[in-house]
Subunit: 387 residues, 3 copies
């Protein structure tokens, strides 16, 4: 064996030098079996988990999406305030267009003919009064409806409340009607148009699949088993798809999620890349914790009467907000992630030696023979004593 | 060479023990060249791909963004229904404010003076009738406009249809006007204010860059080559930037994406971190698959006439929804990702040995000499026979 | 030592073959100490950074969220245009419902009783004229308010401007009132209902925590120290939480971010998973760069007078848009990421040898003895000469 002065001896010699570890080969049934077993487990993991399940040989991209919706349907209400009244899409979708979301009015408390004037406040612990001195002029109760004028006036035969400057008559705070006013809303349909894009792969698709024609689109209704490709949904089906009852939900309102999942393997034919719809109630309907249930908001329609006085119709609208949420991941063969995963797999194979060495040197009966062969020693203390 | 009893012999001795693999150095032109070549490839990959392209020495963060928009412009329409009429921003942006999105009305079908009353349904296969018995009282056709009263009445001189309770007169379902009513919309401008934040680096910036002054902002229009920093866009330019024709798109409406990309290397001067604008049509305009094209919705303006009867003007509005989408990634030098990437690079260098060993032991003419030097053997079977 | 013909000799023998590197054990105080020190650093890093800080033994998931908001409060304004007027939620929240966002009107410029007619344009360099020839008929100034009729008419006693067909009288472009009209908005409250979901762990929670009851909810106001769980916020507190002044911000409007962070360790009791609220101004208020400050938009209320003429009230509304942004990451123990991180940690331990070898073979006084023991040589040139 040649004495060596290190790489400094000759740069050229050093360049052509190749280092490889010296290997001890042990031929043993036990160790060999353990070794091959662990190798098999790691190879199976790399192939099974990384390549088959996670598709580690693919580059991935997240979905970009654009959603438009169009609700159709007619509801008839018959109330003492309004008489017989027809509600169409321009009446019950508020606001008329939103991005990836739409709201359908299902129930309402209506307070017509409000004007800016004075009236007694709705009775509450803080608004009840016996004389004018109980009502501070200019005081704005943050949970009240107006600004106090300083007077205490009759609300009913028995009750006196502070007078307020407000939109009068005031809305009476009461539970929403049951059954809901627009119970017909369960039969409304919504056409959801969803275009997606995977920018990295320059791949576009929409949920109106190529085989869908105009005739089918005018009469189909989505059904998970019979019509899974139809982009028209009955509102009742959406709510029932989340295991909720439409009429119960319609009373106080709520928030529904329409989840569209586009998981695409772009190494396969693109016709395999189709959307999957699932439905989920997004707000809480925990029956034993009913603080602030449902979804409602107030809005008004403003009118001007002949003598230029502004009046408004206040509507406390209860309804269901449908949020369309689009998820998805696409994968396509790419050389870089494949190499990275092969590298990581090979690195894992290095762990086999660590585990087998531990077994060989700890449990085998011949461990001392193996140690003699595997290890050499340089002992600083001995080296010093040799000098 | 000292016999060893393992680490148990002396804890102190064991603590100072350092294990290093025994190495065989092969000096060979062929193997050495292959070895250095593979090393060079891996080092080039680590430096080139990980450090230069992916900037592996940087910590990264995703953008947080806030967008507000303001449209300006005036359109003039001249129709038989409305006569000469001016449309300004309060008329054509619906709803008046949205988050990261705005809608501009470009075309419309208007049905004025609707009231809640009875009128013959629009002719369709299901609404045509010859006698009252064809019209079920109370039936709501989900694709119709109202609730049937049970009567069959004259729609025109030749056609009879079922009478409905609805907002009458009904909207006549027809193709939108061509050219679009608000053809002037192509000259509208929109000011997009976009503030971004990289929270990890506490870095804020907005798309109105520091060098932009009030004078420039009152007269500039974005142009990719001459005015790439101006945050005011002409709607026509946005649509043409996506290789679409504004007037064609305006007829049926559609959805446009305004993409703002903020890719910032925060190791560089912050003035290099500027937004890049790109435009893309988000909905499908596939000419051979025109089911449900464009983007439209219905909304109404409600009035009350002198005798307290509610009337409304129904508008089927076609238009373009512009979605502002902000993307971005910022990187800044950080010690942890740099160490991680150096470690991963060194781990890759370990693969060199695997490849070279395979070459040396398989293809080299002197492979048997190498094997003798590289490998030692312990043979369980032989060991047993020696006993 | 047995001569070997490689694995081809016997497949069975090959199967039971186990390769392990030959190791040189160096017993040295210096090298041993360096070795253990580096090992300690790497183990401390793996345990400290990967396991404790980054919780590498957990699988993680990103939050899905649904937000609804409800504003309450009354404002009183007293202006020459409108007289005493009460504003309630239906008046000042525009549009009445949005997804994860709400806008509160704080200031306004009102232009009542506009009709489609002719009037002199607002004076500006391009609208001033001396005779009809200065005004091109049909010209639409993109920063003007209407279409020119071709006439030059008196705007005031001293100024003449081009006549336009527009919604007249025109809005006078002026600075918004200071103090803001709806200064009372600072006392408005907003109830934010936020339901979150970690789909991978099937974990749902909402920000109205289980211990909150109806009584508490009717009277609590969020306060970072005294009431951190109350989901009702005073608008003034939100703005001040971002170190801004409400009354100043209310004049020109702006955009506020309400950030809700749900960072949950699901290995811990679920009651530890609570939202954290932070507030931040999202638009720019850089005082020395005040191009296009604040947030405002125009909207109109439409009326029809007795003789069927449409009039409108144009409102330039300034206000604060509140964007509710929900962030969060949940982690839960999982075997796969734990194994991956243990593997990565062991791989890092391999770097110890690289560093120590470099130290041993470069700086140690006995480096040549070590080299003799560690390295063997095969020299191609020598091999050739031996033949």
């Amino acid at each position: 064996m040649a004495q060596d002065k290190g790489c400094g001896a000759s740069l050229c010699q050093c360049f052509f030098e190749y280092e490889t570890p010296k290997i001890l080969k042990i031929r043993s049934r036990k160790v060999g079996t353990v070794n091959r077993l662990i190798q098999a487990v790691i190879i199976a993991y790399v192939i099974g988990y990384v390549y088959v399940l996670k598709r580690g040989y693919q580059d991935t991209d997240s979905v970009l999406s654009s959603v438009t919706t169009k609700v159709k349907g007619i509801a008839l209400t018959n109330s003492s305030d309004l008489g017989l009244r027809i509600w169409d899409v321009a009446d019950y979708v508020i606001p008329p267009q939103e991005d990836s979301s739409f709201f359908v009015l299902t129930n309402l408390i209506i307070t017509p003919n409000q004007t800016q004037t004075r009236c007694p406040e709705v009775p509450s612990p803080s608004s009840l009064c016996t004389s004018d001195s109980d009502c501070t002029k200019g005081f704005k109760d943050m949970r009240g409806n107006g600004v106090r004028t300083g007077k205490c006036v009759k609300y009913s035969d028995t009750i006196k409340t502070c007078e307020v400057l407000a939109w009068c008559p005031l809305e009476i705070d009461r539970e929403p009607p049951e059954p809901p006013m627009l119970a017909d809303a369960e039969n409304f349909t919504v056409l959801i148009k969803n275009n997606i894009r995977y920018p990295k792969f320059n791949f576009n698709k929409r949920n109106i699949l190529p085989h869908i024609n105009k005739t089918y689109l005018t009469q189909c209704i989505y059904n998970a088993t019979t019509d899974p490709d139809c982009p028209i949904f009955k509102l009742k089906d959406i709510v029932e798809g989340a295991k909720e009852d439409f009429q119960t939900m319609a009373v106080h309102g709520g928030v529904m999620g329409i989840q569209i999942r586009w998981d695409c393997d772009l190494d396969m034919p693109t016709s395999w890349c189709v959307p999957k719809y699932t439905f989920r109630r997004l707000d809480n309907k925990d029956p034993e914790n009913t603080v602030a249930p449902g979804y409602n908001f107030r809005f008004a329609k403003y009118y001007k009467s002949g003598d230029d006085v502004e009046t408004r119709t206040l509507i406390k609208g209860f309804g269901i907000r449908f949020d369309v949420m689009v998820f998805g991941k696409a994968g396509k063969f790419s050389i870089v992630p494949m190499l990275l995963n092969i590298g990581a797999g090979l690195a894992l194979l290095g762990l086999v030696t660590v585990v087998c060495d531990w077994i060989v040197l700890t449990f085998m009966t011949k461990r001392n023979q193996y140690k003699v062969e595997k290890f050499s020693y340089v002992d600083e203390f001995k080296l010093l004593s040799q000098e």
